[in-house]
Every structure is written in structure tokens, then in C-alpha cells.
């Protein structure tokens, strides 16, 4: 596996510029590149997403437990930073932070002692950091933390998943190569990963939410926010039953799916270079559509009134690739601005 992977990665890196040189061969190369991407994923991620510590090193697993309770106060702020290993934070009763950690290694047991868990207490604030003092240690630390439910949480991980549940204060979760999962976090403000997925469920807040992943999937379900800004390069974005008055989605090669109702007077701005954008709209909120694509098609199964500036070359109906469509559905109260370069735009009724 280790010998195959560099070859696959090299193929991927070579394939992109080659494809860029000849647009006429793009379709075939897209297929090849997608296949290569899948192979890379198969070889670099375990089921359930990337994890820092797979526990398959030779030798028995050595562990060391850490346990501590610290008073934070109900409206305090909890910060945790980890390099390798998962972070799980759950809101609970009381005004204390309960920190349970397990250091793990399959190397020499002495390595466990070179990793320190530092807890810094200040009024209204508790900070936890993982300090690796030795060189080349192979230690991961998994944290399970309970915080007062109304506290705020900042969680940062280099390699490891971050999961935050039932925290009522402001939440920010960030990882480089781990998945981010949040649920029941009404003041979720940011969720970001470089190569991991971002999963957001059941958050309701009159706030602005920013979520991004460079290559991972962004999935949001049952989310309510004043404004939602989502960004990815090659990952897909899947939104279902999301309610917000301002949505901005940016993707380069990933596809975007939006399923649910629009807000009256809401503004939805979705842009993907080569990914398909699909909207499955529920409810009867009207909207004004401005859709443009260079070579993708624009299709809608909703009856719309076409505006005066439809189409790049004044073609007056959705369908053929390479044009703009300005159209109104119903009372036109929401604004949909959809743009692709080569991806298709599809609007259906849910």
C-alpha cells in the first residue's frame, strides 16, 4: 500500500495540468481523475474518515489515563488544542469542566510520559493543550470533555476528529486532517477542516456560520442561521432543510445540493466551477433566478417567467449549455444567483 500510494498521488498531480492543456479531452480526464481520487481516498482513509492513530502498529497498546475537573462557570469559555487524537465535547449540567483523556501508543510505554496535558485555569476560561516534549513520539491523545451546557467551546485539532454536541455557547471547531461533527449547537460560528468532512446538524441561531473544507464533504441538515457561508475546493456540499436568509456557497470542482424551502427575501448565491448544482425546492416561496453557465446546461422543472436578459445570446429558454437565464418563479421574493462554468444547474420541486 505504501508503495502504491505515491504513484497514485503522482498520477493525480500530473493528471490535472495535463487535462488543463487540452479542454477537448477534459471529459475523459475528469473520469480518470475521479477514479484516481477514489483510489487515493481508499488508500489514505479508514472507514469513518481520517484518523490520526489507527492502532495497527506492532506491539500491544499502552495507555495512560488523565482525569481532571475544573470549575469554569456557566458562561465561561473552554479551549482545547490537540495534535493527534480525537476530541469529543458534550454540554452537561453544573459549572465544571470534566476532562477525561487517554494517551495511547503502540510504541515504548515511556513515550506516554513525554506527552503532557496542560490545563490552564483563568477566571471564566479553561484552556487545555497537548504538549509533545519528546522527539518522534508515537502518542495520540483522545479527549472526552463535558462542559457546562451554556459555555463556549473552541476546539482545534491537527489530526483527529472533533465532535461537539449540545453546547449552547459559541462554538468554533477546526481540524487539519480530521472530521468535524456538531449537533445541537445553537451558536455554532465556524467549522473547518482541510481534508476532513464537516457534518453539521440541528443548529438554530440568529448568527453567521462559516464552514469549509478543502477536500472534504460539507453536509448540513436541519440548520438555521442568519447567514451561512460554505466553501470547498474539491469536496461536495450537501444541504438539506437549511433555513437562512443569506447563503453563499463556493466550490471549484465539488457539486452542490440544496434540498428544502427558501426563505422569503432570502438571498442564495451558489457558485461552482465544474460541479453540478442541484436545487430541490420545497414550499411555495417565489424567487428571482439569475443562472449562468459557460458550457453546462440549465434546467428547471418549475414554471418560470423568463426575464428580458435571458441567455448569453438571447436564447429564451433554459436547456442548451452556455447561457444566462433570468427568470421569476411565483412572487419572486427570494433571490437565487447560481453560477457555474462547466457544471449543470438543475432546479426541481421537492
Amino acid at each position: 500500500m505504501l508503495t502504491r500510494l505515491p504513484i497514485v498521488v503522482t498520477l493525480t498531480l500530473v493528471a490535472a495540468p495535463l487535462a488543463a492543456q487540452d479542454p477537448s479531452e477534459r471529459d475523459l480526464r475528469d473520469v480518470v481523475r475521479e477514479q484516481v481520487r477514489e483510489v487515493v481516498r481508499d488508500h489514505t482513509e479508514v472507514r469513518g474518515g481520517p484518523r490520526a492513530y489507527q492502532g495497527r502498529e506492532r506491539g500491544p497498546e499502552q495507555t495512560e489515563r488523565f482525569s481532571r475537573k475544573v470549575r469554569l462557570g456557566r458562561d465561561g469559555r473552554f479551549t482545547i488544542e490537540n495534535i493527534a487524537g480525537d476530541i469529543t465535547v458534550t454540554g452537561g449540567s453544573g459549572d465544571e469542566v470534566s476532562i477525561e483523556a487517554v494517551k495511547r501508543t503502540r510504541g515504548d510505554r515511556s513515550q506516554l510520559g513525554t506527552v503532557q496535558i496542560l490545563v490552564d485555569e483563568r477566571p471564566g476560561r479553561v484552556e487545555v493543550r497537548t504538549n509533545h516534549t519528546g522527539r518522534n513520539d508515537r502518542v495520540a491523545v483522545d479527549y472526552t470533555v463535558t462542559v457546562p451546557t451554556s459555555a463556549g467551546v473552541d476546539a482545534k485539532s491537527v489530526s483527529g476528529n472533533v465532535k461537539i454536541t449540545a453546547v449552547q455557547g459559541v462554538v468554533r471547531a477546526e481540524a487539519i486532517s480530521g472530521n468535524i461533527t456538531t449537533a445541537s449547537t445553537p451558536k455554532l460560528e465556524a467549522a473547518k477542516s482541510v481534508s476532513g468532512d464537516v457534518n453539521l446538524t440541528d443548529a438554530t441561531a440568529d448568527a453567521d456560520l462559516n464552514a469549509s473544507s478543502v477536500s472534504g464533504l460539507i453536509r448540513a441538515r436541519g440548520l438555521r442561521a442568519r447567514s451561512l457561508e460554505l466553501g470547498t475546493v474539491s469536496g461536495d456540499v450537501v444541504l438539506s432543510d437549511v433555513a437562512c436568509t443569506r447563503l453563499a456557497v463556493r466550490s471549484v470542482s465539488g457539486s452542490v445540493e440544496y434540498s428544502g424551502a427558501l426563505a422569503k427575501t432570502g438571498r442564495y448565491d451558489i457558485n461552482s466551477h465544474s460541479g453540478t448544482i442541484r436545487l430541490a425546492l420545497a414550499g411555495d416561496v417565489g424567487f428571482e433566478l439569475s443562472a449562468t453557465s459557460f458550457s453546462g446546461s440549465i434546467r428547471s422543472e418549475l414554471p418560470m417567467t423568463l426575464g428580458p436578459t435571458s441567455s448569453r445570446n438571447d436564447r429564451r429558454r433554459p436547456g442548451p449549455p452556455g447561457h444566462s437565464t433570468h427568470a421569476v418563479f411565483g412572487d419572486g421574493s427570494a433571490a437565487l444567483v447560481i453560477r457555474t462554468f462547466s457544471g449543470d444547474i438543475v432546479i426541481t420541486k421537492r
Binding site: 492513530y53 489507527q54 495497527r56 504538549n131 518522534n136 477536500s215 475546493v233 465544474s274 459557460f294 462554468f341
Partner: protein, 256 residues
């Protein structure tokens, strides 16, 4: 103990008194992380300074102002891991980067927010039917040339800034574990392909609006990813996290 980011920023800007400057310099003699941070920041400052200052067209200001208001985030929120560099401009060591990006955004917005009537590919609704045809054609021609010129200028600005950021990002890739570095490289290649496709489309149809927008969006995506990468590099270096990549890499190899 490391100097605060504000102190380092003031040091780079030459805004400290002699005693404070000497204290920072003593620290830099022994702290590799802070020294690299200062070096990186100076490089970013140089790149930002090399950009020409461009005023967006006057006609863009009202819409620009509205866009800024829409984008404005409530004050007092903590700076994100890498968010500040790209969105909030709250991380002092990347203030110059932010300045560079503001110039770029102003350029791009100035282009993007041209009134539709001024754009060559989408004649404005309600154009006077009885207007002189020659005048219309000349006006459309002038507008088309103006838009294409602005696009070229925006492209030039993006390319300059991207080149500087790429130099930093490429030189500092070693702070990431191999998988993360590969992910970033792979996604930069995805964006490069998007830029290449947009350019090819514009060569065939210079006035094509979706292709123009796509080119600018692709540049913005590349800027954002490079800014995030540089911010991540700084973050990894800060607080003795330079070894994080090595640790993560070691764990993954063991796990593979």
C-alpha cells in the same frame, strides 16, 4: 515566553521603542518559531507592497459599500485558526496579507459590479429602442474594451499576489504531514485547472461573462487557499507546533 503577535507586528513595522525592540531581538536570537514568523511576515509585507494601489471605479462604491456591510461580521469574536487571514483581518501578523487581499478584492469587485448595461454580453433591459445604432455599437464596443481591460488588470493583480504566496507556501510545505501537503497541492492543481479552462474559454470568447466570472472566482479561490495555507503554516509554527506534522506523519505511517 513568546512576544505577543501585536509586539511582533510593531517590531516588523518599526513601531517599537529601542528597549522593546532590543527585547524582541534578544528573543528572536533564540526562538526559531518567532524568527520564522517574522521572516514570513516581512516577506508577505514585501509582496503586498509590490502591488499597485488601485481605486475601484467610482460607480462601484455604492455597491461595494453595501457588500461590505453585508459581509461585516460582529466585532468581538475570536480569531479563527486560519479564518482571520482570509476573512476577518484580525490576525496582526497577516495584516499585510489582508491589505493585499483588500486591493485584490477591490479590483475584482470593481470589475464584478459593473452595471450590467456596461457589460458586453448582456445588453441592459430597457435600452432605448430609438437610440442611434452607431452610438449603441460604439458604446457597447467601448464598454467591452473597458471590461476586458479591467479583467486583465485584475488578473495581473491576482497573479502577482498569488506568486508571492506560492513562494511562501512552497518553501514551507515541510511543516505539514505528507498527506496534508498532498491534499493542498492536489487542490491547488484543481484550481489551476479551473483557471486554465476559464482562460481557454476567454481566448475563444473574450467578452463571455460566465467565463470572466469563472476566471475571477478561480483566482479568488486560489488566493483563499494560499492564504489559508500560509495562515496554517504560521499557526503550526506558533506555540511549538512545528513538530505536529512530524508526529502526525509518524502516527499515520504506523497506522497505514
Amino acid at each position: 515566553m513568546h512576544p505577543s503577535e501585536e509586539a511582533l507586528t510593531d517590531y516588523i513595522d518599526g513601531a517599537l521603542d529601542a528597549a522593546a525592540r532590543a527585547e524582541i531581538e534578544r528573543h528572536l536570537e533564540t526562538c526559531v518559531a518567532c524568527r520564522r514568523l517574522v521572516d514570513d511576515s516581512r516577506e508577505i509585507k514585501t509582496v503586498a507592497a509590490s502591488l499597485d494601489l488601485r481605486e475601484p471605479p467610482i460607480r462601484s462604491w455604492m455597491r461595494l459599500e453595501r457588500a461590505i456591510k453585508l459581509e461585516a461580521r460582529p466585532a468581538g469574536r475570536g480569531a479563527a485558526f486560519w479564518d482571520a487571514a482570509r476573512l476577518g483581518w484580525a490576525r496582526p501578523q497577516l495584516a499585510w496579507l489582508a491589505a493585499a487581499a483588500v486591493i485584490l478584492v477591490a479590483t475584482a469587485v470593481g470589475f464584478k459590479l459593473l452595471p450590467r448595461g456596461a457589460r458586453p454580453s448582456a445588453p441592459a433591459a430597457g435600452t432605448q429602442a430609438n437610440a442611434p445604432i452607431v452610438s449603441d455599437a460604439a458604446s457597447a464596443d467601448a464598454a467591452a474594451q473597458s471590461v476586458e481591460a479591467e479583467l486583465r488588470q485584475a488578473e495581473d493583480h491576482y497573479e502577482k499576489a498569488i506568486k508571492g504566496l506560492e513562494q511562501i507556501a512552497n518553501a514551507e510545505q515541510d511543516v505539514f504531514d505528507p498527506r496534508t501537503a498532498a491534499t493542498l497541492q492536489k487542490n491547488l492543481a484543481v484550481i489551476d485547472q479551473a483557471i486554465s479552462e476559464s482562460r481557454a474559454a476567454l481566448r475563444a470568447e473574450p467578452a463571455n461573462e460566465p467565463a470572466q466570472q469563472s476566471l475571477l472566482e478561480s483566482f479568488k479561490a486560489k488566493m483563499a487557499l494560499l492564504q489559508d495555507t500560509v495562515a496554517l503554516i504560521n499557526e503550526m509554527r506558533k506555540g511549538n507546533e512545528a513538530g505536529a506534522a512530524r508526529i502526525v506523519s509518524g502516527l499515520k505511517q504506523k497506522g497505514d
